[in-house]
């Protein structure tokens, strides 16, 4: 043992000798020093880049702040001319008046509500049925064909849907319901429903696919049919994701603009009737933006007040969806 150790020591000494010789011939240390100098020259990029990248990340935060501040400031200017009470409780929205318009937002909210409810009535059953079909019944091949087509449907620009609503859905509906006006709540409602169906279907399908197969197999082993498995096992297990997808879909429907601007009309009213012309919050903003309304008039500021209301509505829906996913998620 001792001999061994002494050999090792001698061996190491040899290595050290070699190393010192190498240092002398190649001057590695010098090279390292030079390299370090070079690095500190190029090191400025190294130090600055995180800050530059942070600035780009700050843009998205600034956007949110910009949206909120813009809406708040301009809405305050609007409330100089119109009382908050009138805005939220007034039952007439008639801004284009020479002397004094009335600015009660309830009719616009009513328009948005009608369209959104119709859209939900169309989209929720169809979206859920597609999700159940795709996740529980469809073969792999069918799924590979159908899912991309649904994505195509989700990628079609909304102006195309608006055109479709006005020139195809409305005429057909008018054949069925003769009292339907050219501009109405029904046709854009149905088309918005079709637009958000792929979104609800694909998000719900994701939620249902993530339910573990062991649960399905357990239920099938107990003698349940596929339908019972889907409705009584998979659906309850995936309910948080499904509800969140529906809430997100409704939020999209509330913020949808071009379909209602093209096919919904421009008559804000508080009636429950869905066959007549309506105006939603978004369609009002479009109507004012298109006309030549002077900068700084009450009407000009009113689009910010309406936009603020719209923003709060969709924000609440989006936060609700996030809360549902976080709070009620079942972990397997």
């Amino acid at each position: 043992m001792v001999k061994c150790a002494s050999h090792l020591v001698i061996g190491m000494k040899g290595v050290f000798k070699l190393a010192t010789q190498n240092t002398n011939s190649f001057s590695v240390q010098k090279m390292i020093q030079e390299k370090k100098k070079k690095k500190s020259a190029g090191g400025i990029t190294e130090k600055i880049m995180p800050y530059i990248l942070f600035l780009t990340a700050a843009v998205s935060v600034l956007t949110t702040i910009g949206i909120v501040l813009t809406l708040i400031f301009e809405t305050f200017l609007f409330f100089d001319a119109v009382s908050i009470k009138e805005f939220f409780t007034g039952k007439v929205w008639y801004p284009f008046s020479e002397t004094n318009g009335s600015f009660g937002i309830l009719p616009l909210i009513m328009g948005t509500l009608k369209v959104t409810v119709i859209a939900a009535i169309v989209a929720v059953p169809i979206g859920l049925a597609s999700a159940i079909y795709l996740s529980e019944y469809a073969t792999d091949r069918a799924r590979r064909i159908i899912k991309p087509i649904l994505e195509v449907l989700a990628g079609i620009p909304t102006i195309v849907y608006g055109f479709f609503a006005l020139t195809f859905v409305t005429p057909i509906l008018r054949d069925i319901i003769p009292s339907l006006e050219i501009f109405n709540a029904l046709s854009p409602g149905i088309v918005i429903g079709i637009m958000i169906t792929p979104m609800i279907a694909s998000l719900s399908e994701d939620a249902m696919t993530s339910v573990p197969n062991a649960m399905r197999e357990g239920a099938l082993a107990l003698g349940a049919t596929k339908f019972e498995v889907a409705i009584k096992v998979v659906l309850p297990a995936a309910i948080s994701g499904i509800v969140a997808s529906i809430v997100l879909g409704i939020s999209r429907a509330i913020g949808e603009t071009m379909i209602v601007a093209v096919a919904g009309g421009s008559t804000p009213n508080l009636e429950w009737n869905i066959t007549g012309s309506i105006q939603t919050m978004t369609a009002y903003i479009v109507q004012v933006s298109q006309g030549d309304v002077g900068y700084g008039t009450t009407i000009y500021y009113s689009i910010y007040a309406v936009g603020m209301t719209l923003f709060v509505f969709t924000l609440v829906m989006n936060l609700l969806a996030q809360y549902i996913t976080r709070r009620f998620r079942e972990e397997y």
């Binding site: 990029t45 190294e46 990340a57 998205s60 087509i149 079609i156 195309v160 279907a201 719209l310 923003f311």
Partner: protein, 292 residues
């Protein structure tokens, strides 16, 4: 002793089984209904607009006479818009993604940025229009220009690009970074020479999808006050433009059937552009994406 009464079992099972097969067909039929609607939509638009779709339509400026009208100004406008949106949104989006994935520490600020991005994705596009109207058109006095429209659109599609770039960067395995560090590379060198090249296909795919969203958006541009009818072409970034969706919106809003046919022809052009862009995105994803 006969524990299972065969008749009872059959009697009980029958309604359940028929319910099962009926509901299966209902689910299938509703899914097919969605696809059918897509088919009808495409068929309607093609049958309406195909007659107007020719070289003259692509090369003419908009006109009050339907037979002379075309989408040339709108096509050129869309290209100008992309010339602003593509660099701005890609730079900001990829920068944010690199910061979040490579540099950001796990703290409240980082968390806030992430929550903020996901909420920004849910803000209706028309609200971005209000932001652009106040900040770009009025406060910075860009007017209804390509620049104002492009910057507004960039902010609108920013969340899409950030999320796509984040996913692409996250998919680059850590071994690659460690190997690069092990060879003495600095963090920035590693990001530029190792991480970004590996993540480029994913970033490009997300970027193209985001651009295709920007091409189809109408509402924010209407709010900015972009002209729906424009008979000249832009020369600088401070000139006004009109884009395809605005042109389609303009034609859709007119009562004459000829203009509806023009709108349909415009939609065909728009859908064609979207299909080409999406195909390129899918192609990049399938061809260049490495699986580690």
């Amino acid at each position: 002793m006969n524990l299972i009464n065969h008749d009872t079992v059959v009697k009980r099972m029958k309604p359940r089984l028929s319910k099962n097969s009926i509901s299966k067909w209902i689910f299938f039929a509703l899914t097919m209904f969605v696809l059918l609607i897509l088919g009808i939509l495409l068929y309607r638009i093609f049958s309406q607009g195909f007659g107007y779709l020719d070289l003259q339509f692509l090369q003419s400026l908009p006109s009050r006479k339907p037979e002379n009208a075309g989408v040339y100004a709108a096509l050129i406008g869309t290209i100008w818009l992309m010339a602003v949106v593509a660099p701005v949104s890609l730079l900001l989006g990829v920068g944010t993604a690199i910061y979040l994935e490579e540099y950001a520490k796990e703290n409240a600020l980082t968390n806030f940025i992430k929550v903020n991005i996901s909420n920004l994705a849910g803000v209706p596009s028309i609200v971005f229009g209000l932001l652009g109207l106040t900040v770009f058109v009025r406060a910075l006095a860009f007017g209804t220009s390509v620049l104002a429209a492009g910057l507004t659109m960039s902010l609108l599609v920013l969340p899409v690009i950030i999320v796509a770039a984040q996913e692409a960067i996250r998919a680059v395995p850590n071994q690659l970074r460690e190997a690069s560090f092990g060879l003495g590379a600095t963090k920035w060198q590693t990001i530029v020479r190792i991480v970004l090249p590996a993540a480029i296909p994913g970033i490009l795919t997300g970027g193209i999808l985001a651009l295709s969203r920007a091409i189809g958006e109408t509402a924010p541009l209407v709010v900015l006050g972009m002209p729906l009818f424009l008979a000249f072409l832009p020369k600088t970034f401070l000139d006004s433009i009109t884009v395809l969706p605005l042109q389609i919106y303009n034609w859709t809003g007119r009562p004459q059937v000829e203009f509806h046919a023009l709108a349909a022809a415009g939609i065909i052009v728009l859908l064609f552009m979207l299909i080409v862009m999406n195909s390129i995105a899918v192609l990049i994803r399938n061809k260049f994406q490495k699986r580690y």
